[in-house]
Symmetry: C2
Amino acid sequence: MTKAADRKSLTELEGAALAIIAREGPLTPYAVKEAFRNSPSEFWSGSAGAVYPLINRLEKRKLISAKADKGDGRARREFSITAAGRTAMKEWLVDAERAAGMGFDPLRTRLFFSELITPAERKAFIAAALARMEDGAPAPAVDLPHVKPLHDLWSRLRVKALKAFAEKMK
Amino acid sequence: MTKAADRKSLTELEGAALAIIAREGPLTPYAVKEAFRNSPSEFWSGSAGAVYPLINRLEKRKLISAKADKGDGRARREFSITAAGRTAMKEWLVDAERAAGMGFDPLRTRLFFSELITPAERKAFIAAALARMEDGAPAPAVDLPHVKPLHDLWSRLRVKALKAFAEKMK
DNA sequence: ACCCACATGTAATGGGTTACATGATTTA
DNA sequence: TAAATCATGTAACCCATTACATGTGGGT
């Protein structure tokens, strides 16, 4: 019998944390936190209050496990993904249903309501947003395989979408 | 002197709720809840436990106000946006800084980690995601001005992005 | 020695989700 | 009139954010 906690599917945060640990090998909680902090999306805040408890939850569910402390002074625990963790992670990763969902885009949300401002205000807003989106992406700090290309791809498409929308509003 | 609560800028949920009320004229809390529930993005769950307290908060902050109950039996309160609400809403709506943020995309998140599965698994995942994304959008239930076109535009671009990524992985 | 970045947490708070409760209105 | 849906809420729970506390290690 599997316990209820084991059956519950992973949240996005849990899945991403597992994936990071799976990819980067043994990691300290701090390293996981930094990985989130350096993500190009503001969605992943990587706050201590989120990540440390998260790591503890994952350990309690035996999806990750810590190598014995090296005992060299400070308490550092390096976590690796377990077999069960790998299974759960893969299940999360190939969830096409969730992947297909639209997610959340603060730009799209605002464009939905763009008729509530005057054409002049709209024009100014679009120009300001474009400026921030186009000028050099702040160079995602993580240098993991797909991070930069994917970030750039998504950025370009959002710019294109905004321009298309602006064009149609003219 | 403005009170702290007034100075605090709106969350996405608060901003969107205000915008809905601004656009749709006097609305009951239930109608606002349904507007969120019918949104094409799973991000806006429109649960009762989120919306009713939200409406109360907005009223307490005097960003919306209820017309006197019509007294016809059941307690129905119809809320309209106030002048202060309109100001706060516009400030939220033209916030280009936040609009430019990448937001959250469950597809993008998974593609970041797509090297953790085998090429065959990846191919299957991409096909499954594409199928769900391309087959007729479940027709957004709300028929507000930009909802459908924007939803379609974003959908098409996400499909294009996924195809581009799949191509590059070959 | 001193400062700053590294590293690991916890407490208070806020707010969203799920599930439940309750009554009114509509429809079969 | 019984069932379904409309409509409004509330309570328990979960979890992320902010802010704080604490200690280590390396550089100057």
